[in-house]
């Protein structure tokens, strides 16, 4: 069976080792993209892809990206929750690739909540 060529991974590995300084506990923020069936059908994967691309493009190294299931508000998907360390989480709704890029830039990098895309500020937990 043909396997993915992983020879070049060595270069990436060494590059990351040289530049990475992030430990999970030291991240400045965590972004959770809601990936329930409703989220995926509404375009959550596109949001996640755009987010990863932008993080990579800007060379950000201290942000954690994760996913969760449906938060129970399917009609406002795609959604993401942004948790900046030490601040209450903010839930953003009706996202697009452009919106998540703005959220990354304004909220996470500059510390200004993007009120026009936000639904609520405060704790949110899925069971």
């Amino acid at each position: 069976m043909k396997k993915l060529k992983i020879g070049d991974l060595e270069k990436i590995r060494e590059k990351v080792r040289r530049t990475a300084n992030v430990r999970l506990g030291k991240a400045r923020a965590r972004i959770t993209v809601h990936m329930g069936t409703c989220g995926i059908a509404a375009g959550a994967r596109e949001i996640l892809t755009a987010l990863l691309k932008e993080i990579e493009r800007k060379g950000i190294k201290d942000v954690i990206v994760t996913t969760s299931g449906c938060a129970g508000l399917c009609s406002r998907e795609p959604m993401a929750t942004v948790e900046v360390t030490g601040k209450p989480p903010v839930k953003y709704v009706d996202l697009t690739a452009q919106k998540i890029k703005k959220i990354l830039n304004d909220h996470i990098l500059e510390g200004t909540i993007v009120h026009e895309y936000a639904l609520a500020i405060g704790s949110e937990r899925t069971p």
């Binding site: 069976m1 043909k2 396997k3 993915l4 060529k5 992983i6 070049d8 991974l9 060595e10 990436i12 590995r13 590059k15 990351v16 080792r17 990475a20 993209v33 990936m35 329930g36 069936t37 409703c38 995926i40 059908a41 994967r45 996640l48 892809t49 990863l52 993080i55 990579e56 950000i60 190294k61 990206v65 994760t66 996913t67 299931g69 449906c70 938060a71 129970g72 399917c74 899925t126 069971p127």
Partner: protein, 180 residues
């Protein structure tokens, strides 16, 4: 859901919710026999009989956030539309295997979609805790992607590192194009 890669992402998210640490995804494009088979096998907690019996009922869910569960129902519907077969096998404590078989050239068979993007989305968000094995067969050609191999090669560098993800996405795309 516009394509099968989104269904795959959705079903694998279920596997992760079920505590799976290993998820095997197999896509077989058997053009000669005019069939497309998608299989997702996990080692999650599995389903009890009651859940398994109700698994295709859109108004049955184990979730507490809302009273519908559409993921598997929608995949089953996609299979039905393409006159295929759908099978769910599950054993409590052992895991779940979902098999969706489609008529390959059926007019209503959904396209495969962007598999690389689905795999990267899964690895980015869950790649540290979960191993993903992706096998794609088409007309005697194979592509195998196994995050356990990648992790070994990375030797401690996290697989969800953004540089690594970019590299993996490019490679998965290239390798999948070769077997198209």
């Amino acid at each position: 859901m516009q394509d099968l890669s989104l269904h795959i992402l959705d079903i694998v998210e279920n596997s992760i919710e079920a505590g799976a640490t290993k998820v095997e995804i197999t896509v077989e494009e058997d053009v000669r026999h005019n069939r497309l088979i998608v299989e997702i096998k996990d080692n999650g907690k599995g389903m009890d009989k009651k859940t398994l019996d109700n698994v295709l009922d859109p108004f049955y869910t184990t979730k507490k956030t809302r009273r519908i569960g559409l993921g598997l129902s929608m995949l089953a519907q996609a299979v039905k539309e393409a006159e295929g077969d759908f099978n769910v096998q599950s054993k409590r404590g052992e895991g779940t295997t979902i098999t969706a078989q489609f008529v390959y050239d059926h007019l209503d068979r959904k396209p495969l979609g962007n598999i690389a993007e689905t795999l990267i989305a899964l690895i980015a968000s869950n790649g540290l805790a979960v191993d993903f094995i992706y096998k794609h067969k088409k007309d005697g050609k194979y592509f195998v992607f196994d995050t356990r191999d990648i992790k070994k090669e990375l030797d401690g560098v996290p697989i969800n590192n953004f540089e690594v993800l970019k590299f993996l996405q490019k490679n998965i795309r290239t390798e999948l194009k070769k077997i198209e």
